[in-house]
Amino acid sequence: MENEPRGNFPPTRWSAIEAARSADPAERRRALDRIASVYWKPVYKYVRARYGRSPEDAQDLTQEFFASLVDRAALDTYDPRRARLRTFLRSCVDALVANSDRDAGRLKRGGGIAPLSLEYELAEGELARTGLPSPERLDDFFEREWVRSLLATAVEQLRAACAAKGKDAVFAVFECYDLDDAEPGRPTYADLARDLGLSVTDVTNYLASARRELRRISLELLHETTASDEEFRREARSLLGHDPE
């Protein structure tokens, strides 16, 4: 056992949190893109839900927020021993909104960094489907949207990886079984085998393979957007557990 490989994690890793503090502008931009890929929807939806801001205001605040992480080195004050990254980011959003109230009309739109290209209409569409949370659920809202955003990003990476390897059937099985909200009830493996022209054994193997890959991609995304191994482990349990803590 001791001599076996240690699993899927390399001993060293690229950390978006570290990279955001880099002196190299290209590295900081890469870090910003990675953090934003996971957090922009939670941030945008949170501003809309908690503060009731208009879509236009929420878009400005979202751009301002991510720019501040890199341009004004907001992440320099982050200490993973004191809080989870998502807790820290949420408190940064709260502070930003409070400042924007105070400095109304003087909102900085991203400073010296090029604005992120974000599909706000998608986030608006999702808000329309889920509805805004009730006041007593606002505290959980950011966490739940973080889980949704990270897994959705992982699903897209899985889809791209399957397409690149010519394994569209693998993703099709996964999509039908785990993603689609079929009515009524879940399809059986035999249903899927018939519908997709596969054997039941293929369906079983493809589904196991897709889920394994989804787990790997999700944890890799999480690995890159946490600042320490300890935080990574705690967040992994939140991500893959039944309820975000």
Binding site: G7, R159, A208, R212, R233, L239, L240
Partner: protein, 316 residues
């Protein structure tokens, strides 16, 4: 970008956390419990046609240390063949990289749930003694449990009592080779200063992180805390409270020297004998002897009364 409904989100989280059993002999049935680093699943073993519990490491293992710990736990369990300790059947790595081991699936409530439904003091004490026997066996094999508490004891439907969760177990000083010849007995997680255990059941020295000083008396403290838990809702006899107090003495030199000594005192109380932990007054000693030999005492008293009456009336 995919839209994930709340239902799809729940399915994905469940799918990504479920163990990937493809390529193994096991078939997943469901999740049965979660611990600090691991999740326990119920699975079917179609080869031997039995159900097993799979303990799977479910937090990312960035440096390989957690996998070593789980493998070490399995090896410790494999050496503790005792009716009070669930046996290990298999150990390995899943296709997704997670380490697991398979062990006996134990049905039945945990000790805390058992205590909530069992009012009878003697029934509780019998279960307690089975726990102490299993721990004493582990001590004899050079292993400390270090996390004994009601949540880590299962009580089966036929009276089986199993001490579970040996994840913090440690080889006693001088017993490393006997306990686990092929593993590192005191890795970084067991070094001085690491506070591991459960408040309320941890000995003072364990709570202070004096890991290298721990010996069997630290587990004796936890056993005392379990006994106190089992006595909580009863009108507790003073000698049993004294047993708890001695097992849980702050200074380990004041505790029972081992689990068997603790068990012996409980047995003495069950047999109506004097308990070492409880110095008796003359009156208490007389009361205990009366309770223990009630029938004989009444027989003698009756005999004396009858004999006295005969003497009294024969002289009139």
């Amino acid at each position: 970008m995919s839209w994930l409904s709340d239902d799809a989100l729940a399915r994905l989280r469940s799918a990504a956390s479920a163990p990937d059993l493809s390529g193994t002999r096991y078939r997943l049935i469901g999740e049965v419990g979660r611990g600090g680093m691991c999740t326990v699943f119920l699975a079917d073993d179609p080869v031997l046609e039995r159900r097993v519990a799979l303990k799977v490491l479910d937090v990312p293992d960035t440096d390989g240390d957690l996998a070593l710990r789980l493998a070490r736990e399995a090896k410790i369990l494999a050496r503790l063949e005792h009716p009070g300790i669930a046996p290990v059947h298999d150990v390995g790595r899943l296709p997704d990289g997670r380490v697991f081991y398979a062990m006996q699936y134990v049905e039945g409530p945990r000790l805390d749930a058992f205590a909530a439904t069992t009012r009878n003091l003697l029934d509780r004490l019998r279960v307690f003694q089975r726990i102490v026997e299993a721990v004493a066996f582990a001590h004899d094999r050079g292993i400390l449990h270090r996390d004994l508490k009601p949540e880590n004891v299962m009580v089966g439907p036929f009276g089986q009592v199993l001490v579970m969760d040996w994840g913090l177990a440690k080889a006693l000083a001088g017993d490393e080779q006997r306990a686990s010849p092929s593993s590192t007995p005191a890795g970084p997680h067991t070094g001085h200063g690491a506070v591991l255990g459960t408040p309320g059941y941890m000995s003072p020295e364990q709570a202070r992180g004096e890991v290298s000083r721990l010996d069997v008396r630290s587990d004796v403290y936890a056993l005392g805390a379990i006994l106190r838990f089992l006595l909580k809702s009863d009108d507790v006899p003073r000698p049993l409270l004294a047993v708890c107090a001695q097992a849980m003495a702050d200074d380990r030199d004041d505790r029972y020297p081992g689990a068997l000594a603790l068990n012996a005192d409980v047995t003495r109380w069950l047999n109506g004998q004097r308990v070492d932990a409880y110095p008796e007054s003359l009156l208490q000693k007389a009361s205990r002897l009366y309770t223990r030999h009630k029938a004989a005492v009444w027989l003698i008293v009756t005999y004396l009364v009858v004999r006295g009456s005969i003497l009294f009336f024969s002289r009139r």
